[in-house]
Amino acid sequence: MTKNQEPIIKIRGISKSYSIRHKNKPNTHPTVKDAFVKVVRKPLQLLGAAGGMHRERFWALKDINLDIMPGEVVALMGINGSGKSTLLKILARITQPESGEAFLKGKMSSMLEVGTGFHPELTGRENIYFNGSILGMSKTEIDEKFNDIIHFSEVEDFLDTPVKHFSSGMRVRLAFSIAAHLEPDILLIDEVLAVGDVRFKERSLDRMKKVAESGTTIVFVSHVVSQIREICTRGVVIDKGKVVYDGNLEDGLETYLKLNMLQETKNEETEKNDETEKNIVLGLSAQNVSVTRGKLYPSLKFNLRVNNYDEGSLEDLLLECNLINSDKMPIARMSSERLKGGFNLDKGGHAIVEFSVDQLNLLPGEYSINCSVTPRFNKNLLYGRNNALAPVIIPNYKAHGHSFKTSISTNTPSVVLDYDLKRIE
């Protein structure tokens, strides 16, 4: 790569806003009547006679500037509603920006979904040709890659069967295989790698890695940290329609995960405000999460804070955490049973429990943590929360002379964790 190389994607001041209606119920498909009412109301509104609806501008994207160089694989990260998908849709030309401009050099293909335009009545072969062509492949290109596509999808025997008779697994495998054989200069991907069974997911990711290595510039939107780590070389974080981080991947991931955690805490606060309605008496938040390199295995430390928003005090409680692997299976449990007896929460009070696992003998990968609070003796759930912490990521490491690497197909077995916990407040 030469230094004075021109960017392959140039984004300059891209903004886009939507207007949101208030007071009225969300009405995405207005009728002719609505339009008529609007026309009649407008002059009245100008005269200040009718209250009518109230519109608010919501900036999905605000002044986005980015340069992406040829061959870069950029992870576009952000919490839900941050605007990352809107940006991808603008680059894919599906929707238009309100202001600003972008230049894309070379052939661009987008994989915002797999199997666009698949028709259940058409055969596998017919769908390959139509889908391929809508994704931007020429007939000659599809002819050339046809064998690779069917080989990769493993549906050779069903080529002339209508797709409606395919299992859903076969359908996504075929759909992904077509998209994965595109050879554009720029590829825009929106969370489509997580299709099929575990083995196919791994092959898909390998395939995308190869595409990336072949020099294709990729803009990749995903929430799956392990996938991002696997293929991306640069991280861009978008929050509330603005680029808040642009740089190396690891720092980008950290920025994103922090935002994610903030969002969770916010959700918790909202829950608290709705307390009277939902009768939620407890709140929970995670603090000081850290994963550090240990002697042999990494170690994990975090604090859980339980708030009692209720009027009365609660006694003899149990706090439990479950570690969930990427297949959504609980694999390890940590419980405050270890504290002598249950813990008490005064009215309006809180408890902070520190969990620490010195030797986290899990395989590298992404784990989420679910928490629950129950009375110690009857286990009626008082409070439960999935993904109480931002996902815990265990990096690749070496132990017993082996190197352990992230693998999305790893079905981490249940383990008994050696953990400590103490109430620190």
């Binding site: 207005p30 002719v32 030309r93 929707t95 920006p97 230049f103 050099k105 987008s110 335009g117 209508p162």
Partner: protein, 277 residues
Amino acid sequence: MEKVQITHISPDNTLALEWRELLDNTELLRYFIWRNFKVRYKQTIIGAAWAIFKPLILMVVFTFAFNKVGSVETGSETVPYPIFAYAGLMFWTFFSQNINQVGTSFVTFQGIINKVYFPRVILPISIITTGIIDFAFSLIIYFGLMAYYGIAPTLLGTILFIPLIIMTSLAILGVGIFAAALNVKYRDVAQVIPFFIQALLFLTPVIYPVSAVPASLQWVLYINPIAGVVDTAQASLLGIRDVQWHMLAISVATTILTLVVGLTYFKAKEREFADLI
């Protein structure tokens, strides 16, 4: 060095269609036509033969209801009612069926519009082209009727035949694309189209000849583009009477007008499709 294609993305406020882009996508257009055709007749017993049966059945019903019961005549001694009705119905069926399909096309294909970029105008054009193939099938019965009634093709009819198909296609595109763009935002349009078509049938000289309309009011009929097509088809193909050129001009003018209005409205709204669907 190969010329690198540069895509420039910016807010598009122009109203002119990018025909160049359409030309670059002719292969995709072909795939859309091929897919429409395949999908339409999958899981049907007689397949493409439906294209023949629809106008044929209507012709039989019309002959019974309007000619035998209602005593509507063709206005010509030599041309029997069935072939008169069929000549009009070929064009009418082409028009009415495709107006309906084009009018709902952007909503029908929303799954694709939301996920992939391509010149959206490909959708209506592919539907109309599929309609032309159906039209070609319906000609088989027409030739059969000509042979049966011993009516020879006229020179003028042969010359005007293709222009009439083109004019019908353009009318479908104009009215249809306007309805389709409107339907993206206001879904009631899909409900209105069949009603509109039903009403329009009675304002089109398919059932009755134009000569049955008082002479002073005939020009009103020709405001409807398809009325001009149907009347000219009957006049030129069957030689019922002379082609009313000045009246046809009214239909041509309204066709061009609807086409300009339809395409302009479509272009103005196209950029919002993905946000609205």
